[in-house]
Symmetry: C2
Subunit: 234 residues, 2 copies
């Protein structure tokens, strides 16, 4: 807030974008590391993720302060205000993605000593890989102000949901096969749900980018859906 | 944003608080209704909750617009800025509580035709009742600018976490007893997790109120914890 060097408006916007790119890079890194911690059963790496999440929180606070200061000093209108508020919105989603990576790392810690069911782990890996790819794409879409790229990300979220729904069923089947599988399956279930939610936040960012570039919403309703919450039990 | 009637600053702040109270009341209502829908296996009520959540989203947007307009026009400093940003922060938490109530309602829809295990359902009921009480208290703390009340809410969140941890164990045991219990238990597990997260957002609001009144954070670290994510499986 106490910036003594007077910057131009464009410089301030560029600084905002730079911080968002930094935050996005960190979110990607934590998500990737939480998967590695899970797969390699590496409690040290998992603990690192939990600690590194604080850097994301700090960046969020910095961006928030800059946004307040910009609105107060510049009183931006229309396009500029849309840009600044979009940046703030994206920041909130990235902070939550960091939180979700932290949650996955905590699950990794909890089950580090357990043997992991291979086919289910590969399901988790595929979900994380797609979520990471989507996150990377949407950060590019923001950096390049590319509404079409944002729209593509938005559409692809359905794939993550489909993966989650199928993994959910597999995990339930695995539980039913042997009660001893219930503990680990529950942790993996929550882990998978966390990844599905990373996808939702990425979709939010895609919506923000689209609105920022085109000035209107992608759609009133969005494609995201965890169908397992409405799965009838038979 | 196009307010033609010029209001005093105090009137604008009062309007902001009024909208937050309205949003908070709605969040309480949806959470209560999602529990009723679950207990009475009432799919109609569950659907109502899903639809009503949109009213919370609309209020969030209204508040956000008012906040931007106030910062731009008034360029508030120190205390006033803290108040306005606090309001925005609380709004975000209330919006997420609305989302969580909606998720519980979706679970209620999914298991409306199942017979519900009574002791576990009463565990869920107690969690929701405490979460509702905490939410009511923190909204009062905000309306009255009562930092001590906020602190009390912050401290009591540990009780919701303890309830969740014990319910988590009971649900796992119930699953292990009979594979046919796995489906419904999984839905209840996610439902319980949603309530635990309502508690976390209520704790966030308590922190915001405390900061807003006293000007410093309750603590660097907060009491919330879902211990189940680090529960070792034996």
């Amino acid at each position: 807030m106490n910036e003594h060097i007077v910057k131009s408006y464009e410089e301030e916007l560029a600084l905002l974008d730079k911080k968002i790119a930094q935050m996005g890079g960190l979110a990607e890194q934590l998500l990737g590391q939480s998967l590695s911690a899970l797969e390699r059963r590496d409690p040290k790496l998992a603990e690192e993720v939990v600690i590194s999440d604080k850097a994301i929180d700090n960046l969020e606070r910095e961006i928030e302060e800059q946004v307040i200061s910009m609105i107060a000093r510049r009183q931006p209108m229309a396009n500029d205000l849309r840009h600044i508020m979009g940046a703030l919105r994206i920041t909130t989603d990235l902070e939550r993605i960091g939180d979700l990576a932290k949650n996955i790392a905590k699950r990794a810690l909890a089950i580090a000593d357990e043997s992991h069911p291979k086919p289910l782990m590969s399901g988790i890996r595929h979900m994380v890989e797609l979520a990471l790819h989507q996150l990377k794409e949407v950060l590019d879409a923001y950096a390049e102000r590319d509404a079409d790229k944002a729209l593509a990300v938005w559409r692809h979220d359905a794939e993550i949901d489909a993966m989650y729904n199928s993994l959910f069923r597999e995990l339930l089947t695995y539980m039913m096969e042997d009660p001893r599988n219930i503990g680990i399956s529950t942790h993996l279930l929550f882990g998978a749900k966390n990844i599905e939610r990373v996808g939702d936040h990425t979709t939010n960012i895609a919506e923000t980018v689209h609105f920022l570039v085109r000035g209107f919403n992608i759609a009133d309703d969005r494609p995201k859906d965890d169908q397992t919450s409405s799965t009838l039990i038979s």
